[in-house]
Symmetry: C2
Subunit: 408 residues, 2 copies
């Protein structure tokens, strides 16, 4: 038996379940856990993640061998639970021994429910949306490096789609500095950081003082930015209140009211196009994108950047009818959360879920200046997973190595 | 009849077809063109793009009214071809007259084949891939602002998935300067610009000197960057040759060889995850993404960032078998274009189509230093459309206003 050293996994996994038995079944490994549940670990699946330095690079922790480099007749020939609680598997014809940590195996077993670092989303309810409670974090706490406050803000952006930091210094550097603490920002032809202020010869309705009914930004791109940050520097004009709508909730209302309209918006590709003088971005995709469980995962609704649709007349008419149903719901005051941003407020929202808009404002009555940027949902999710990883690490350090528990 | 002024479209459209007749049909507008073809222009479709300043903002050229703001009983009440060749439609009960440019109408009619600014892609052929001709543009021409040379490079990246600029100055500023001329770059936790050189304590296999079989980058992200740029500053080591593979061609070979394997890779979500110490990006999606016509539109194949798959045993095994078929084809020398980058060479490739890799290199024998960045396919496409727009503009200026042609 070759005793290959185990490469420490870059992540730590607490031993919440211990292995009770292991046997070979059709060349795969069948294990049983101490809660009575069983896992079949397919041979290639298990072999690919063998934590030995010939399979996983000890420093980068990435796979070093391709699956096609393995013997064609690869099979698990022997399996046992070691006294320290780890699973040892002997591979033939390689003669390699692989040793797996029970915490890692439990977390990654094929029956695992998957990524549990992200809490479920909480949709706004029609009628209650105007008063939906918003997490508002104190800017002083964020400035002073209070991790819990920052984490509460991140979690609320994920769960509710919208969260605020208030009383930040009225300093333009807040954007990009605070959003950059989540992860890298998204650049566009508007620049990484942009300002929303009424200006002459505007290249977008946003840069005028007209009312902007709710919408989301950059729907002319294949990948609509997942996060948007708006920092208020001045807001002394008459008008210019912010409006937010949970488009996931609106889409669910549409699904209940007219399943056929929902289906059309989830399947018929709608064309969008920019109106810029120096770029020409276009993208054609359904207004609603669905995730693996049929849940709405992304909304594309910059309605003033819609381009003429191609296709047959009946399909176009059905799309218009469905789109207008959605538009009516999105503009129903019962679905709208109004908010007046104060100087020092930083609003963050999921740009693929929460639509935003504003009432018209009068530039003669004061000044309205917002500073914004885009980020990615996946950077937020990475931060939430890092927090979960730190918590796992704490549990592991508390519990000691797996043997301590296996022997107990 | 209200005579509303027409807002000039931000784009110019040459009058390649003239309108012969227009009539009302079921509240929509039915027109006939001078080539005998007919178009039905659905009322809401036509009304939404009325080029009057109440519908389209004269400066931003974006829609100002929501569809739900239109009368519920909106209908086209009258339509005629004006002497200048434009289509006039009267809307009731609004009493609004809308006037449409025939070039715009022809380009956007529902029967239009759509965006014609992007030439078709040209897949590499198995067996011929090792010698596939690559567009190679002279660096001096690009430096001197030769638009045609730059445009040839862009077109080749789109069509062939890979194109070079050679003999650029060995100056690190080439990246990001040259790629930035296409559009904004894509940031990541590696930074907007990164260097590939063997280094201790690497956070990625790329930063070692091991061989890297072909792969693409950032598959742990929801949106895999569409473009990658690699600029060679030093390449004097033994080894370190570049390898490129057209994964669209490989996927088509798989489809022909095993339709079932192709189907599995196009439908079964495969988990990917980074191995970083300070971030935790994960994404789960099929290896092959298909476009509206069933063509492969994106490939996700950073095989060394694969995470353990969940699900039932049979599905996992079927996935492994399909993935290994794809991997065998991607590693078939008959599909691989080898290339030794020379200092001053800038390679650009479609990171969601063309896989890249390298042979191992010996750091004792010299130095290998590449400088790279990511961009987006849509920025490239925007540039190609801008070139098409300039060409349309030229045709329009040559031809004069539509009346000139309508009267001829």
């Amino acid at each position: 038996m070759n005793q290959t050293p185990s490469v420490p996994d870059f992540d730590c996994y607490p031993v919440t379940r211990t292995l009770r038995s292991a046997r070979i079944a059709d060349g795969d490994v069948a294990v049983r856990w101490d809660d009575g549940s069983a896992s079949i670990l397919p041979s290639l699946w298990l072999r690919e993640f063998s934590p030995d330095p010939g399979t996983i690079h000890p420093v980068t922790r990435e796979q070093l061998i391709m699956l096609i480099d393995l013997p064609e007749d690869l099979r698990a020939a022997d399996a046992e639970i070691r006294p320290d609680g780890r699973l040892r598997v002997t591979w033939q014809p390689e003669g390699l021994d692989s040793v797996y940590h029970p915490g890692w195996l439990w977390a990654h077993r094929p029956e695992s429910p998957g990524d549990d670092a992200l809490p479920p989303r909480r949709l706004w309810t029609r009628g209650e949306a105007p008063r939906v409670p918003l997490t508002t974090v104190d800017g002083a706490a964020v400035r002073d490096g209070d991790d819990a406050a920052f984490q509460a803000w991140l979690t609320a952006i994920h769960v509710d789609g919208l969260a605020l930091i208030e009383k930040l210094p009225q300093d333009p550097s807040v954007v990009p500095d605070v959003p950059s603490r989540i992860g890298c920002l998204r650049n566009s032809n508007f620049g990484t950081v942009w300002e929303v202020e009424s200006r002459p010869n505007a290249d977008s309705n946003a840069y005028t003082s007209v009312a902007l009914p709710v919408h989301n930004d950059l729907c002319t791109r294949e990948y609509v930015p997942g996060l948007q940050f708006l920092f208020c520097l001045h807001n002394s004009c008459e008008g210019g209140d912010s409006i937010f709508v949970d488009a996931y909730a609106v889409a669910e209302q549409l699904r209940a009211e007219s399943p056929q309209s929902f289906e059309i918006l989830a399947t018929v590709a709608a064309p969008f196009g920019t109106r810029n003088r120096d770029s020409d971005h276009r993208f054609c995709a359904p207004v609603l994108e669905l995730g693996p469980a049929g849940e709405v995962s992304s909304v594309r609704y910059t309605w003033w950047l819609r381009n003429p649709m191609a296709g047959d007349t009946a399909r176009i008419k059905a799309f218009y009818a469905a789109f207008m149903r959605f538009q009516r719901l999105a503009n129903d005051p019962d679905n709208q959360r109004r908010l007046r941003l104060r100087p020092g407020d930083l609003a963050a929202f999921d740009n693929r879920r929460v639509l935003h808009g504003r009432t018209a404002f009068d530039t003669a009555s004061g000044r309205r200046r917002l500073r914004g940027c885009y980020g990615e949902r996946e950077e937020l999710e990475s931060r939430l997973r890092m927090a979960a990883r730190a918590e796992r690490q704490r549990l592991v350090e508390q519990a000691g190595p797996p043997a301590a528990r296996a022997a107990s």
